[in-house]
Amino acid sequence: MRCKFILSDISEKIIASEEGYSIFEPIVALEIDGKNVFESLGIDGVKSAVIMHSREHFIKTTLKLIRDLPEKSESAYEYWLLGTGFGFRARRKDQTLQLFVRVDGKMGPTQRVNSPKTVHIGTVSVNEWVESIASLSKSLSDMFVD
């Protein structure tokens, strides 16, 4: 997999607690070719992302991306890490996605990274991106879904 979401700062006590689903806020990083894309912004990852609710939006957005494939040759999608000032923009042309990190202080904390800004972080195939979203979602399901 050329791109992969990495969750860190995970507390086993939190994910086992009765309110873990709602209060789980790990550090989220995205790696492309084994490199953490947030290092170029001077941070290890996005802190305190409300990841379970972000996941719901990620899945809906990814389903739209997939449905658009046969209908449009170009499209763009936003994947925001809720509760933070960080998100991803995926700009599609045919089966290729240009990926960008977006930083916007109006959306949430930016960990002292200047905003607003949009930084190109790499190019991946649609398949690779969809697999990375599915893999992230499965990891989260393994923690919270009985």
Binding site: M1, K4, I6, L7, S8, D9, I10, S11, E12, K13, I14, I15, A16, S17, E18, E19, I23, D33, G34, D44, S139, S141, D142, M143, F144, V145, D146
Partner: protein, 155 residues
């Protein structure tokens, strides 16, 4: 009651232990055995703390075309059904870094595997003497990988 991985105390060294390992997105997809040679550091790069050198067993070494790999732990894989369900808990101030030692010796069945980056190095001989790298350029990523506990030390 099973202690959480955060409550695991001081642990013994894991050098010499055998583990079961699998590479992701690599042509060789089978689970194979590897022996932990020891911890490896990278000068002035604390983000690589916790990385280990592993020696692959014969068949895997042949298939992957290297005798040794480096494993940098990143994420635990949890087994939701085995998490000890608790009521409300305060958020820990500083959750532990993902650790191969705690995973292997912690005996917590709720942590079923540990994922991380797998690297190879062309500086193998020197590495086995110093167990350290001077820079990141001395090793390169092979793939992501997963380690599970060998049956002898699992629950």
């Amino acid at each position: 009651m099973v202690a959480s991985i955060e409550d695991a105390g001081a642990l013994q060294p894991i050098t010499g232990l055998r583990v079961e390992m699998r590479l992701e997105e690599h042509l060789y997809r089978k689970m194979f055995s590897a022996t932990i040679v020891g911890p490896v550091s990278v000068v002035n790069k604390p983000s690589f703390d916790g990385m280990y050198l592993l020696k692959l067993d014969g068949v895997a070494a042949e298939k992957v075309s290297v005798n040794h790999v480096l494993f940098l732990p990143q994420v635990y894989q949890f087994h939701r059904g085995l998490l000890f369900r608790k009521g409300r808990v305060p958020a820990p101030r500083d959750p532990d870094r993902v650790s191969l030692e705690k995973f292997l010796l912690g005996r917590n069945p709720a942590i079923r595997a540990i994922e991380g980056r797998v690297y190879t190095s062309s500086h193998e001989k020197g590495l086995r003497e110093t167990m350290s790298f001077q820079s990141e350029s001395e090793f390169s990523m092979l793939s992501y990988g997963v380690i599970v506990r060998p049956k002898t030390i699992s629950e």
